[in-house]
């Protein structure tokens, strides 16, 4: 029976770099390019790529792909700007795709 010591972390699927905390999940109801994705308020050890406009399921957004800082694997994207009022809450938050992150020992 493992004792949980410390925060529950997620790591990059490719190299094990810690990228986010379970406690920072805002919603688990998102769709990524390859399946399910989670919306996080904070991430760490990631690199933000260039901004681009993308038509997502919820409308037009300006997003930037995010990469693991160690191995440069694309893990998801960051919402930079939303063009509909109902989507504004996403600005500044991060999407991490479920297939790209793994639970770190929990």
């Amino acid at each position: 029976m493992a004792e949980l010591v410390g925060p529950r972390l997620y790591s990059c699927c490719n190299c094990g770099n810690h990228v986010c905390l379970h406690d920072d999940i805002i919603s688990k109801d998102f769709q990524g390019r390859n399946g399910r994705a989670f919306l996080f308020s904070h991430t760490m050890n990631i690199v933000v790529g260039p901004k681009e406009d993308r038509q997502l399921m919820t409308g037009l957004h300006t997003v930037a792909d995010i990469y693991c800082s160690d191995c440069r694997e694309v893990l998801g994207w960051k919402y930079e700007k939303a063009y509909e009022e109902s989507q504004k809450y996403k600005e500044g938050k991060f999407i991490l795709e479920k297939p790209k992150i793994v639970k770190e020992n929990w």
Binding site: C15, D70, C71
Partner: protein, 368 residues
Amino acid sequence: MNLSDDCLVSIFQKLQNGTDRNSFGLTCHRWLHIQNISRRSLTLHFSYETTAYQSYVRYLPTLLNRFSHLTSVSVAGCTELPDSALAGLKNLKTSLRSLSLYCCFKITDEGVTQVAIQCNRLVSLTLYRCNITDVGLEKIANFCELLENLNLSYCVNISDFGILALTRGCRLLHVLVVSGCRDVVGTGLRGCSERLEYIEAECCMFTREGLLEAVSAGGLKYLNLSSPRCSMNIDGIALVLAPRLQILNLRLCRFISNESIATISKACPLLEEWSVAVCHEIGALGWGEIGLNCCNLQVLHVNRCRNLCDRGLEALGEGCGRLRVLHMHGCKKVSHMGLELFRLRRSDVEIRSEERVSIGPRIYDFFA
């Protein structure tokens, strides 16, 4: 005056540029034959035009028929090339030394078997992302006894079973590339000869047993285990059996511990170039051991190591007497002061910020 074929061949070989050579061949059938038998290498490159690959598929059999003394054949990017196109290689039975097939996804065990049986004097073979399995490797092991250089990058359907066959059959094997072969863990290298000096296993998942087998022969000079696909700690113990190791690439092995680093630095006294870039677990203890034990180290890569601090850098500077180049950037715990102190103490060491993904000699030069 009738010149013999040898005379004509000598004359042809003095012609330096392509236009002259083509003009020679256009003179008459006999001279065309001389031009054809003088060609030694055939290379079909990657191309941005997809129509090029269609013409490769169409013309390869004709080309192999026409040039009967080729020593080297290379086909790149031809994803639709079928196994049957390789049948023409039987004309090159005695002369072919090197065959390279890059991204020829339709080449299967059948095609490789044909190649192995017909061209058993092969020295270098590249099967990059081909659709082969252990069956194909067994055939290569059975027939190509002279094989020295083998590149099986990203052939995801092969496993240690096939590698074992190769280890037993190709005793002259010198360079082995298994990068990206997910199911290869290294146990197939059991009993390899000491001629195996270069192992390139980037993005693999070598286990401790596998690593032990890989180094057991004692001849290993170059080992690349960078970017492993999972959170494995590479146990330094295995490398005790590799005293002749000169180049070691452990980039992105983020879980390698101080103890492993200590063991490796003591076990491999001849180490000349070592990459521990992005190895975050190495702390002051580990850096101290490198400084103390790596007397022959000339080039060290420590890019983006999170736990390289001033103390660690100092320890490296105090040791590693033969160090010439230090690749370092993005080490957040190294302060300006620490860096300047290192520079003052070790003005003989050049500090470069570039992060090298591959180190040491270009492995692909062996396949030329």
